[in-house]
Symmetry: C2
Subunit: 350 residues, 2 copies
């Protein structure tokens, strides 16, 4: 398909504008360089080694993956510094993690002693060394430990064979986290186990990273493609959105509504203001409902309405979950297909 | 993995209870046999040839797929009667469809002249014959033609080389559609082009199929696994739900809430009453939020709360979209893994 016009692509398929993606990669690296911190892209948004390679070439120090299975795909592709900012729980998962730690520098995060002990047992059995960051609970209270618990976890990690206490992780690392982070770092310092790495993350938090000078690195994923959800949160603007789902009008029997061949199996079912995607050619059209393979678009606010066979381009609400629905992404430039990427790390069980 | 205990499965992974699935397959076939109509399972729910084979062995006349690419997978797997109840639009798609029609009996549906003409051109070029059903618009007004337009489309199809007018399709074929269907059939009869096949469909509509005696076949997909959405709509009960997403508690630092390792990339983001799945072990627990790889569960209405490492089983809201997120499904019986199925037709572009 490479070199062909994008018209050669069937619908629904996922297009990535290479110029915009390259600009996004360069800009985020520049931002981190200016801040004087390391940048560690999260591959969850693309799950494609070739794109991660471009992120490293731009200056990233390593990558972040969300699962052991994803890290295995990237380790096989030659990546040698992989962070999994997730509690890895379960004897088989920790065993695979420990095997992985023999091939690459692996760091993980923990928020409880139970998680530490599972990882330690696997590392000791395998004779591997694993770097462990303690996750500090953020305002969203998803995962993470309190400052006091973080100290106790750090002490426990430091005292455990085959584990190395590597520092503190926060997600999202909004500026409002500074007092809690400072408290944690002071506790660690006083205990004589200072944090080497202070890893922040989040598409919103990167804008405020200068207000959290303690950070030594940032993890961001979505920035590589951005999406309508990010525009809606004012993290970015439409001109930085690199992903489009290309869709065809397959039915137009109602007065001001058409049906597209892209539904929840192609564009997922997250929404912004009740809309499942932003239609580039018709900003006032409302993609207001999806079934598995159908998207319903209301054109009553538009001057014209497309006909059966017309092709439209949808900026998705959330690119990370869209990538996970597709086997392939297509990199396009100047109207031509430049890259055909297999989404190598998608659909993995664990 | 076959023969191992289900504890050998990592999380999140998707389990199918073989006993329940087999009972679902048998019951639906029985229902159609009693009605004296053909049964044509829609494979969208499983996308797995081995399961479709079981449906045929139980008595189904053929299968329905939603995309040409899916039909190609099933034709390659030996299926010889495939219906695609969808408007196939675009020159490359119709060309593939026509090629497919040389290997298997292929029927498609249409709701406009533009769709008919595209399919006709491809069939004529390829020298293939394609069976075409006219879709009648239903109350949901998704796709479909009015009775008058259905007649004109049927006449046009009948007059077009390489196309065979095969009948009428309705989705969903609720009993309330009877007057419109009867009107359409009378128009066709009067015009001397009677409908051979009258194809109904829908997980809800199958319950009312006896009220629409004009039907010659029914297409149903979800029944093979059912799901919480179907229970919520009173199409079935929990004891017929065959799919579970197996998930592990990875964090439990809040008083009455834990975090599971299953989020929108594993269980999708559709909801029933604001809940993203029904937790079998804790019916009163509320899976009230998902991120990509995290599920938030509130246990404040429960007497006990699970700990890090505990494994739970989630009955998903919508099985069809869950299948599409995974590379593999695991068939289990009596606590053992009996089948490891690749989801052969998932993630396909078109």
């Amino acid at each position: 398909m490479r070199g062909q016009a994008i018209d050669a692509l069937e619908t629904p398929s996922v297009l990535i504008d290479m110029d915009i993606m390259e600009r996004n990669i360069a800009r985020m690296q520049e931002r981190c360089d200016q801040l004087g911190i390391d940048f560690r892209p999260h591959i969850k948004t693309h799950k494609i080694p070739d794109i991660a390679r471009r992120q490293l070439e731009a200056g990233a120090v390593g990558i972040a993956c969300q699962k052991v299975s994803e890290a295995e795909v990237f380790a096989s592709a030659g990546f040698r510094d992989i962070q999994i900012p997730y509690n890895i729980v379960g004897a088989r998962k920790t065993a695979r993690l420990a095997e992985l730690a023999k091939q690459a520098a692996i760091s993980v995060t923990v928020d409880s002693r139970a998680v530490v002990d599972g990882i330690a047992a696997a590392a000791q059995t395998a004779g591997a060394h694993i770097n462990v960051l303690v996750e500090l609970v953020s305002l969203g209270k998803r995962t993470g430990a309190t400052p006091g618990d973080a100290l106790r976890l750090a002490q426990h990690i430091s005292a455990t064979a085959n584990l190395r206490f590597a520092g503190v992780m926060v997600y999202p690392s909004d500026a409002v986290m500074r007092p809690r982070l400072a408290e944690t770092l002071a506790l660690l310092e006083a205990a004589g186990i200072p944090a080497r790495t202070i890893s922040g993350g989040g598409s919103g938090a990167i804008r405020e990273a200068h207000l959290l000078p303690e950070l030594t690195e940032m993890r961001v994923g979505t920035y590589v493609f951005w999406d309508w959800g990010s525009v809606d949160k004012v993290y970015t603007t439409f001109d930085h959105c690199a992903m489009r789902v290309r869709a065809t009008v397959v039915s137009a029997n109602e007065a001001s509504r058409v049906i597209l061949d892209a539904g929840s199996k192609s564009i997922h079912s997250e929404t912004v203001e009740g809309r499942y995607g932003y239609i580039e050619e018709f900003p006032d059209a409302r993609l207001h409902q999806v079934n598995e393979e159908h998207g319903y678009v209301d054109f009553s606010a538009c001057a014209t309405i497309p006909a059966v066979g017309d092709v439209l381009h949808i900026i998705p609400v959330h690119t990370c979950v869209v990538t996970n629905l597709h086997n392939r992404l297509y990199g396009v430039r100047s109207g031509l297909i430049e890259q055909v990427w297999d989404v190598a790390a998608r659909g993995l069980v664990w």
